[in-house]
């Protein structure tokens, strides 16, 4: 009996009128945990009852504590008929189960009813007394901390990063049980909510057990999703990265680092990315082992990208032997693992050695063919298969690990597309094992890894490349090979050297598909997928070049399946990495020669494209230092080959892009216009309107090139559904509609948030779904953050330097590196003596100026940087002058509604997270049978999302927190039936509840301990009664 749960019901307020005669309510409360139920007295005739109940005590196993939610039901007492339910509150008590998190849950919770929405609030206090349990065979995993954040949470230090954990549980969906025919929608919704809550608890407990087995104490980058498979069941699955974390106790250890949180924290909590690109695609229908039932299996693997190399081919260099050794060690460390995957997207300094490129796999499955729908085996096998594929793709890229890993599904009727993607990478083994590899190796290694470009270097053997790519010597260190373009699913590493600013780049695509059944349908989808991947990749590539940039971060490709179409939406943040070569332009080639006007048209387009590139370069401040070609040795094996797109045989008949190398010696990307579609494609490239001035957007944690955030943030969710007119459904019209939908949505966001200018939309996360035949739903969640325009001008140099500076401080503080490292590391990246093997001047015709200049520049930045850093410290302190004081105590009963910030980012600008209170993972269903009365679909969904936000905030406040970070809306399933005046919506959200303090406050906090809760000046302020 290892735990005692205690609950006290204090009071209610704003209850609805339940008795029309008296305009009052006779409310009482049922408190249920597991199979035990307690009741309060009836508080008669009041809309603001004061129950002030005794402590209800539940004595339970800690296994139940983890699985079960506390269920509080508010009812209206009726002497003559059945009591009417007013609504419910589910409280996840998990945060009370680990020592450092919350100790009490206390506050006002909205009373929620799936039919009526929020109906008043109830004040509840919950505590847990845990007894130590020495049973070794225990089934619970209390004490394992969970974080949605996809980086090592602030105020913790990663001792070891163990690796991938996953789990999946299946149950029958209550909505599809026979009993659903006779019960009320409310009962059905509540059964579903409760079931998912239970399943999430169970899932978390099981994952916790795995973590304990690995000797870890936390899961970072925890991503839990549910799949509504319909008849075949309801799946809740989760992946995460097991770690051993150490709490950084002394504030001195993290205070300095927090002065510039914008840079310090670069992790992107939600990683949902899939893959991209298709150079080598294979299409292989596989019969699964399940006997006679045929499951279409299809996978696209895309080791397309572009990489950076450490080049074992050049092993003669100083770093060579050490790297080889490192590689061996890492490999052995990782090989013990079934799947060397990491859901993290940002890493401790030194963790990420090289990045290979994006790897992804997809597979089409038929849900009605699952042998044992109630058992998880089949789904486990499906995912294992996909993970295996990812692993082998990574290997092909010379990488032994996958970072920024995520999984997703898209379901339509009985067809399900499973997708997984990540970034192949080479990791530093130091974090992967128990402090074994300390010492000189590490030291040497660090010296050999030039800051800011090391991760770009290719990890694979240049003589034995997995795919044709164009390599050059790194533009930063001149020592190692880098690819011409780099795509990744992770955040931009903090120490990366970036030129100019980044921007959001999206590829959007629709493909019509015939309606079909079962296998035919699955085959049709399988056949379409590679083309979609290919086109999405081409679009991304073109748009990237159009922006004058050479790398994508946070890439996430979502393929959504509908009855009669497939949609692809890829989002990423484009940047110009200083280490990579300048991207070439885009060339247009016409196919019909001898046509004067046509030629003219082509040249007109060409001019437009060139203008756009020039304009974008100016807009994003991309002006890389020019490098003289004489100095650069570039032994590129086959310089021309790089721009060739290789297609696998299966699709080679469908020529979309053709290379024409005659267009000069620049590494131009050539678009051939051979029909109107191609023309439209080119047009659509040019229709993407840049954000209005003062606005930037990205889908990573923060905008590369902006680092002076001010404290105002606004998180929002926007949903749009459009109905396609069925008449003109061609691929082309569809693409245009979809493109317009996304563009208009972005335009609306810019307009709505115009008062925040200058500001940046960060972590822009688009989700597409196809709820019905002709409906397209796009959901966007993002956060707008203001920044200081004046400082914004100092971009690259300051940024580079800051990150260098910080990398070194971090090293000292977080990694306890020997001190000399920071002093050594800067001067010690020797720009290698120009390699004079075979020099290919031609490919660098457009770049000049010497690397000596680069060195000078670096030296300058280093000097400036140190000044800059001090400036930052001074700058940040006066920022939020107000005596902001976060409420760490339980919110006092009825006086104030505290402001709770929500953000999809892992940090709060201008503030320091002082405590993680636990994971928030909530699932709600809302249904209505009076859609028109509630303001139609827009009114209904608007109110529901506002209610979801409110419930998240209330739970965070009750835990004693004042913000949710790494917030994500994982699902927003909306169904309507306007004819019946009905609609239903399911929403699943999660995030990490935290306590944050303004930086300015941290400094004074010691001097003014007791001061009352007052927080004027800063952004939100508190609402006083």
């Amino acid at each position: 009996m290892p735990g005692k749960l205690k609950v006290k019901i204090v009071a209610g307020r704003h209850l609805p009128v339940m008795d029309r005669a008296s305009d009052l309510t006779d409310a009482f409360v049922e408190v249920k945990f597991g199979n035990t139920t307690f009741k309060t007295d009836v508080y008669p005739k009041s809309l603001n009852p004061q129950w002030n109940s005794e402590w209800f005590k539940f004595e339970v196993d800690d296994e139940d504590l983890q699985d079960e939610p506390l269920q509080i039901t508010v009812l209206d007492h009726d002497t003559y008929s059945a009591n009417d339910a007013i609504g419910k509150v589910y409280i996840d008590i998990d945060p009370l189960l680990y020592s450092e998190a919350a100790t009490v849950i206390s506050g006002w919770f909205p009373i929620y009813d799936t039919i009526h929405g929020i109906r008043g609030e109830i004040n509840v206090v919950v505590k847990v007394d845990l007894f130590n349990d020495l049973n070794r065979f225990r089934q619970s995993s209390c004490g394992v901390k969970f974080f949605c954040t996809t980086s090592i949470p602030k105020c913790y230090r990663a001792v070891i990063i163990h690796g991938f954990v996953e789990e999946l549980v299946v149950n029958e969906d209550p909505e599809y049980q026979w009993i659903d025919r006779i019960r009320t929608p409310r009962a059905s919704n509540e059964a579903r909510q409760r079931l998912i809550s239970l399943m999430s608890g169970e899932l978390q407990r099981k994952i916790g057990l795995k973590v304990l087995e690995m000797r870890g104490n936390a899961v970072v980058g925890y991503l839990q999703c549910f799949d509504l498979e319909g008849e075949s069941g309801l799946v809740v699955r989760a992946i995460g990265t097991a770690c051993t974390l150490d709490k950084l106790s002394s504030p001195a250890a993290f205070l300095p680092a927090c002065n510039s949180p914008s840079k310090e924290m670069k992790e992107s909590p939600l990683v949902h990315p899939p893959s991209h690109g298709c150079r080598s695609t294979h299409n292989s229908p596989i019969h699964t082992a399940t006997g006679s039932r045929l499951t279409q299996n299809f996978s696209v693997s895309v080791p397309t990208l572009i990489y950076t190399g450490m080049g074992s081919g050049s092993a003669g260099k100083e770093g060579g032997p050490f790297k080889a050794l490192l590689r061996q060690q890492t490999q052995s460390a990782l090989e013990q693992r079934e799947f060397p995957f990491f859901t993290l997207t940002a890493f401790p300094p030194g963790f990420l050695v090289h990045v290979g490129g994006v790897v992804s796999a997809r597979s089409v499955k038929l849900l009605d063919r699952i042998h044992n729908p109630d058992e998880p085996e089949t789904r486990d096998a499906w995912w294992a298969e996909i993970r295996q594929e990812i692993k082998s793709h990574a290997k092909a890229l010379g990488c032994h690990a996958v970072v920024g890993y995520s999984e997703s599904t898209s379901i339509c009727e009985e067809v399900c597309i499973l997708s997984a993607s990540g970034t192949a990478a080479v990791l530093n083994p130091r974090f992967l094992q128990d402090g074994t590899v300390e010492g000189c190796l590490e030291q040497r290694l660090e010296e050999n890894l030039p800051a800011g470009c090391g991760f770009c270097h290719i990890p694979y053997d240049e003589l034995n490349m997995p795919f044709p790519a164009h390599l050059t010597y790194c533009y930063n260190c001149r020592k190692q090979k880098v690819p011409d373009v780099l795509f990744t699913t992770i955040d931009l590493p903090t120490d990366a050297t970036v030129i100019g600013k980044g921007c959001l780049i999206q590829a959007r695509l629709c493909r019509l598909k015939k309606k079909a059944q079962a296998e035919a349908n699955a085959t049709a989808i399988s056949n379409l997928l590679p083309f979609m991947e290919y086109e999405v990749h081409t679009q991304l590539m073109n748009k990237l070049k159009l922006k004058g940039m050479n790398a994508l971060f946070g890439l996430r490709i979502q393929i959504t399946v509908g009855e009669n179409m497939l949609m692809g939406l890829a989002s990423a943040t484009g940047v110009y990495l200083a280490a990579l070569p300048t991207p070439g332009g885009i060339q247009i080639a016409g196919k019909t020669p001898n046509d004067g006007s046509y030629e003219q048209h082509i040249s007109h387009m060409q001019k437009k494209i060139n203008d756009t590139i020039a304009k974008n370069k100016e807009l994003y401040e991309i002006n890389p230092p020019e490098i003289s070609e004489e100095i650069i040795g570039s032994p590129i094996p086959e310089p021309r080959q790089r721009s060739r797109l290789l297609r696998s045989q299966s699709e080679s008949s469908d020529e979309v892009t053709e290379l024409d190398l005659s267009h000069g010696k620049k590494d131009a990307f050539v678009l051939e216009i051979d029909d109107t579609d191609a023309m439209e494609d080119v047009h659509s490239l040019l229709t993407d309107v840049p954000p209005p001035s003062g606005f930037y957007s990205c889908n990573t944690e923060i905008m590369p090139g902006i680092n002076n955030w001010t404290s105002e943030i606004q998180m929002f969710t926007s949903v749009r559904v459009i109905r396609l007119s069925s008449l003109n459904l061609t691929n082309h019209a569809l693409n245009k509609n979809f493109n317009d939908l996304c563009e208009n949505l972005l335009k609306s966001l810019y307009f709505k948030l115009r008062s925040m200018i200058p500001c940046c939309l960060c972590h822009v996360n688009f989700t597409v779904s196809l709820p019905e035949d002709e409906l397209i739903q796009v959901t966007v969640t993002a956060v707008a953050i203001t920044f200081d325009k004046n400082q914004a001008l100092q971009t690259t140099k300051a940024h580079v330097e800051k990150s260098l500076q910080r990398a070194s401080t971090d090293n000292e503080e977080l990694l306890q590196f020997p001190l000399e490292l920071c002093s050594d590391s800067l001067p010690s990246h020797p720009f290698p003596p120009a390699k004079a093997t075979s020099v290919d001047y031609s490919s660098f015709a457009d770049r000049c100026s010497s690397w000596i200049e680069l060195i000078k520049l670096k030296a300058q930045t280093i000097r400036r940087g140190s000044i800059k850093t001090t400036v930052t410290v001074e700058k940040t302190s006066p920022m939020g002058e107000g005596n902001f004081r976060n409420r760490s105590a339980a919110p006092c009963a009825n006086s104030t509604v505290g402001v709770v910030k929500m953000t999809p980012l892992s940090f709060i600008p201008g503030a320091k997270i002082t405590k993680y209170l636990g994971i928030i993972n909530m699932f709600f269903i809302r249904e209505t049978t009076s859609l028109r009365e509630e303001g139609g679909v827009s009114g209904f969904l608007h109110a529901f999302i506002a209610e979801v936000f409110a419930m998240v905030r209330a739970h965070v406040a009750a835990l004693g927190g004042n913000a949710v970070v790494s917030y994500i809306m994982k699902q927003c399933v909306f169904m309507e039936n306007p004819n019946k005046n009905q609609a239903q919506c399911l929403i699943n959200v999660s995030g990490d509840a935290v306590v944050f303090a303004r930086e300015s406050e941290l400094e004074v906090v010691s001097t003014q301990q007791p001061a009352a809760n007052c927080q004027p000046a800063c952004t939100g302020g508190e609402v006083t009664t």
Binding site: P692, Q714, I722, R723, K752, T1025
Partner: protein, 357 residues
């Protein structure tokens, strides 16, 4: 391609002041969009009409959802659904309860009943204020009236506490409620020259001096109803005009004091008895509800108009009224000095406010 659903929900609820004003003014989404386009916002921001339409719809939806809470402003502060900074909350409430001068003049002193509500159509046509806006303003008056009508304590304080209005607006509402409760006639043609501010000023004086609350702060309804006993007592003032000697004495005292100081002395001297009779008769009639309602009509007819027709400057009116009230203290035969002060102190203030073109 048609947009089926289009929403934007912020963790902090976005409030656009301009759109809020359009919404309060009762414009439809279409009209509001047209007005916004005319304001040049498209040029400033580079947005399209579609964006503006979507934005306006979104704000209207938000306001519509907030309206329920605005009906009981303390709820807006306590609710958890919309996170709104306090300054914005205050703005939402203040603007929601603000009213148009033209509208309030139409309904001031009228019973806030269904019947009046039916006349809103006409008021809307007459004033050019949209019917929707008229309804909101009318409902606000009625809601405030209902909440505070049976409460003890200061009317202004009650309004402020239950509707969280600014001091200025709370005073205006106190006046509206007071007028509605006592049904003072304000719509007569000869009263048209008076502004709401004039009436509100008088209301405040009357609440301070003539209601139950003026003598006893522990009664229900104290600021709403006039002190019945006081009105009854006012009959005693009749003697000032009924007793010929007293009237003559009063006149001579006033004339002596004002001789040479008044530009309109002769007119005053000639009219003194009429004016005094008018003012005293108003007092003595206040026992009848009908006459209470006509208070302002009577004051204008009996005092303001005669003086105005003789072109009294305001300064002379002030001198006269001061002397007129003060001289009574020198009338030995008159025993109701306190009563006279309570009556005349307020009346003097009111008359001075009412005396303009």
């Amino acid at each position: 391609m048609t947009s089926e659903l289009d929403i934007f929900v912020g963790n902090t609820t976005l409030i656009d002041e301009d759109v809020y004003r359009l919404w309060l003014d009762g414009y439809s989404v279409g009209d509001a969009v047209a007005l916004r386009v005319r304001s040049g916002i498209l040029e400033q921001t580079g947005a399209t009409a579609a964006v503006l339409q979507s934005d306006t719809m979104d704000h209207y939806r938000t306001f519509h959802m907030l309206e329920r809470l605005l009906h009981a402003p303390p709820k807006l502060l306590h609710q958890l659904i919309y996170q709104i900074p306090p300054s914005r909350q205050a703005l939402l409430i203040e603007r929601y309860y603000a009213f148009d001068e033209a509208f309030v003049r139409e309904v001031l002193g009228k019973k806030l009943s269904k019947g009046t509500k039916k006349d809103l159509d006409d008021i809307s046509t007459k004033t050019g204020i949209t019917l929707k806006s008229c309804r909101r303003q009318f409902d606000n008056f009625k809601r405030v009236f209902k909440v505070v009508e049976e409460m003890r304590g200061s009317l202004v304080d009650n309004v402020q506490q239950h509707f969280l209005l600014s001091d200025r607006l709370a005073r205006d509402y106190a006046a509206i409620v007071f007028f509605a409760n006592n049904r003072f006639e304000t719509g007569k043609k000869k009263l048209q020259y008076l502004s709401f501010g004039d009436f509100a000023f008088c209301a405040e004086l009357m609440i301070q001096n003539w209601t139950l609350g003026a003598v006893d702060s522990q009664v229900d309804d104290m600021d709403m109803d006039l002190d019945k006993e006081f009105l009854q007592d006012l009959k005693e003032l009749k003697v000032l005009v009924a007793d010929k000697d007293l009237l003559d004495l009063h006149k001579s005292l006033v004339c002596t004091a004002l001789r040479g100081k008044l530009g309109v002395f002769s007119e005053m001297e000639a009219n003194f008895k009429n004016l005094s009779r008018g003012l005293v008769n108003v007092a003595t009639k206040l026992t009848h509800n009908k006459d209470v309602r006509d208070l302002f009509v009577d004051l204008v007819e009996k005092f303001v108009e005669p003086c105005r027709s003789d072109h009294w400057p305001l300064s002379d009116v002030r001198l006269f009224l001061n002397q007129y009230s003060a001289s009574v203290h020198s009338l030995d035969g008159f025993r109701h000095q306190a009563l006279w002060d309570r009556y005349m102190g307020t009346l003097r203030g009111c008359l001075l406010r009412l005396y303009h073109d």
